[in-house]
């Protein structure tokens, strides 16, 4: 079987190299001998058939404003996919645009696609955390955050983890999880520095396609290099 990965708004929502998330998933799958189909969706494109994984990344507030109607057009389809168990990884602006609402300024509240039951106040002071650390089921997630949002989860929504260093949602927790959909403020991009997280998303996806994801020496070699980069950021966490 082929695992298909769809990146939404790859031209607008990749401000922090978020295309790297698609690359990371595809590369790890391919190292395990699994065929991957990579697609992108941008305004004017057709969404196409059901993918196994949807990724969407970070962008400026003006991009959020401009893309809100685009998200509205595909919101229903995205919600259906999420309900059907499609794996989602949404970072930054992409995460927020998959939420319920985003307050951009005193007069402007835009609607998101509603995959995540979260509301976002994007009028907060900008937060930049070079070594953004999150503890949770994936061990220590590490990367960078750079946003100006306070994110409020509705009752029953789970976070990805607890913030060890940084701001996250603003209440000591970070991100949101619903079914197989994960939203986060982590970039670097998120998956390239966090193979445990990437492998978890892959395991969810291959459970859908019937593939078996077995890692080999090439993954170990890759992960050794990743560890060197992780160590740089881990070394910057307060002790």
């Amino acid at each position: 079987m082929t695992v298909s990965i769809l990146e939404l708004f790859s031209n607008d929502l990749a401000l922090n190299g978020d295309t790297g998330n698609r690359r990371a998933l595809a590369h790890r799958l391919e190292l395990a001998g699994i065929e991957v189909e990579q697609r992108t969706y941008n305004p004017g494109d057709t969404l196409g058939i059901l993918p196994d994984i949807v990724v969407v990344g970070t962008g400026s507030s003006s991009a959020q404003r401009a893309l809100a109607p685009e998200f509205a057009q595909i919101a229903e389809q995205l919600r259906e996919w999420a309900k059907a168990g499609v794996v989602f990884l949404a970072a930054g602006a992409g995460f927020h645009l998959l939420g319920k609402t985003i307050k951009l300024d005193a007069d402007t509240v835009i609607e998101g696609a509603g995959v995540f039951d979260v509301t976002v106040d994007a009028t907060a002071a900008r937060i930049v955390t070079e070594a953004f650390g999150i503890d949770g089921q994936f061990g220590l997630l590490i990367g960078t955050e750079n946003h100006s949002a306070v994110t409020t989860l509705a009752q029953g929504m789970a976070p990805i983890g607890a913030v060890r260093n940084g701001f996250g949602n603003g209440d000591g927790l970070e991100g949101a999880v619903v079914g197989n959909a994960y939203g986060t403020h982590l970039h670097g991009p998120a998956l390239v520095l966090n193979p445990v997280f990437a492998d978890h998303l892959i395991s969810l996806a291959v459970a859908r396609t019937g593939d078996t994801y077995i890692k080999n020496d090439k993954h170990d070699e890759l992960d050794q290099t990743i560890d060197l980069a992780r160590e740089i950021l881990i070394g910057k966490l307060p002790r």
Binding site: G20, S60, S148
Partner: protein, 436 residues
């Protein structure tokens, strides 16, 4: 008493002496260049304004995400070739204290700068503050690229900075009509009526010839750019390797550039536009283009050095655009590559937006954050031989290795790594460095 009638006069003797003492002290310590500027400005806050006001042709600002140092360098060569005495800041010294230090180094005890014009590269984050002090008469803005996201948050904030700086410029602004943000800024300034706005640009064919164009950041505003951009003062007709054709006043001029690429050619077009305005009737395009072609590249920006029986080409990577445009402009396939990344480059996420197809293999990865480059390459399935964090050791390891078939090592270096590498290779004419 003619000396006292010159700007500043006797009231600046003591502050400037204090600044010189500070310079002497920092030199002894081997430290940076910004402190003397701090000292003088504390003692005499108006000294910069008065020094600048004494220049017959005033102050000219060079702004943009990328190409500031290069364009400042070209503009300085062009204006000097027309017989004017130019004061300019060392590349990288583009923040207030660095500029103050550079300016005051050349200023007499009575507050007079022996120059006809000051041509200054300016950091966008400090442009308004510096403009308030120096009251520039003209500015060029080269481009607005996705740059330093960890510092600026998003490109729109940089657009606001450029807008505010443009409003603080007294009279003339030259803009890149092919830049998503700047074309619209030009329209806004035209409507404001306070500025004379002129444009430079590239033909659609020239833009299409570069695989990633100019990598201009996206502008989501709904303003329409005015039609005036259709008539640029100078236009890049073609750019391939070091060869370019620049159209000026309806005539096409083939030139051989000291450095490669569309981005360099655009910097030349920007310079011609600004210089033609600044020099007025004195401007001669033939003199200008002769100066452009005789110019040297700025340190580390496409500079080729000879080390023993090899060449070393240094290409600076400060953001996606600089790396991508340098890669795009390569006319050879690099067969010996060193890649080094700085500690002070806080967020290497952008590496994942780069198209690295021109690089097949990296010999040595270096710098405090070299592991991020290694990780990026590993995800692309590209191989590298070694990671050597210390850049001087890395450079030596490359030079100790076999001579590449091309005879040339290609170094992609972040700013600090570039400075350290040049120093290690015996190039002592270092620039002042970012004023920090």
């Amino acid at each position: 008493m003619t000396t006292l009638s010159k700007p500043g006069g006797v009231k600046y003797v003591l502050p400037i002496l204090a600044g010189r003492a500070a310079r002497f002290a920092t030199r002894l310590r081997g430290g940076g260049s910004a402190l003397p500027g701090v000292v003088v400005q504390k003692l005499a806050p108006n000294v910069m304004r008065d020094v600048a006001a004494g220049l017959p042709h005033g102050v000219v600002f060079i702004l943009g995400s990328n190409g500031k140092s290069t364009t400042t360098n070209i503009m300085t060569d062009v204006v000097r070739a027309h017989g004017l005495k130019v004061f300019t800041n060392p590349s990288g010294a583009n923040m207030p204290q660095g500029i103050a230090s550079a300016l005051l180094k050349e200023t007499s005890l009575t507050g007079r700068l022996d120059a006809d014009i000051a041509i200054l590269e300016i950091d966008e984050g400090y442009g308004v503050v510096i403009a308030e002090q120096l009251r520039p008469r003209a500015a060029v803005i080269l481009n607005l690229l996705v740059d330093q996201i960890y510092r600026f948050g998003e490109p729109d904030r940089v657009a606001t900075m450029f807008r505010n700086i443009a409003h603080a410029v007294d009279g003339y602004v030259a803009l890149n009509r092919d830049d998503n943000f700047l074309a619209k800024l030009g329209t806004e300034l035209e409507q404001g009526g306070k500025h004379r706005v002129e444009y430079f640009g590239s033909t659609p064919e020239a833009l299409a010839s570069a695989p990633h164009g100019q990598a201009s950041a996206r502008d989501y505003s709904e303003i329409e750019a005015s039609a005036n951009g259709a008539h640029p003062v100078a236009e890049v007709v073609s750019a391939s390797g070091n060869e370019a054709v620049i159209r000026f006043a309806g005539t096409d001029y083939p030139i051989t550039m000291p450095s490669r690429g569309l981005h360099y050619a655009v910097d030349v077009a920007a310079t011609l536009t600004l210089a033609a305005h600044t020099l007025g009737e004195r401007f001669d395009v033939n003199i200008a283009l002769k100066a452009v072609q005789a110019g040297k590249t700025v340190y580390g920006r496409g500079e080729i050095m000879t080390v023993g029986d090899r060449e070393v080409e240094i290409l600076m990577l400060k953001n996606l655009a600089s790396l991508q445009l340098n890669l795009d402009s390569l006319t050879y396939e690099p067969d010996s590559v060193l890649f080094a990344y700085d500690e002070s480059s806080y967020d290497p996420s952008w590496l994942y937006n780069a198209d690295l197809s021109k690089i097949k293999h990296v010999d040595v990865i270096s710098g405090p954050k070299g592991a991020f480059v290694a990780t990026r390459l590993a995800y692309e399935g590209k191989t590298f031989d070694r990671i050597i964090p210390d850049v001087t050791e890395a450079v030596q390891a490359v030079l100790d290795g076999p001579r590449p078939a091309s005879g040339r090592h290609t170094f992609f270096l972040d700013y600090d790594q570039m400075m350290a590498t040049r120093k290690y290779l015996g190039y002592k004419d270092l620039e002042a460095g970012a004023a920090s």
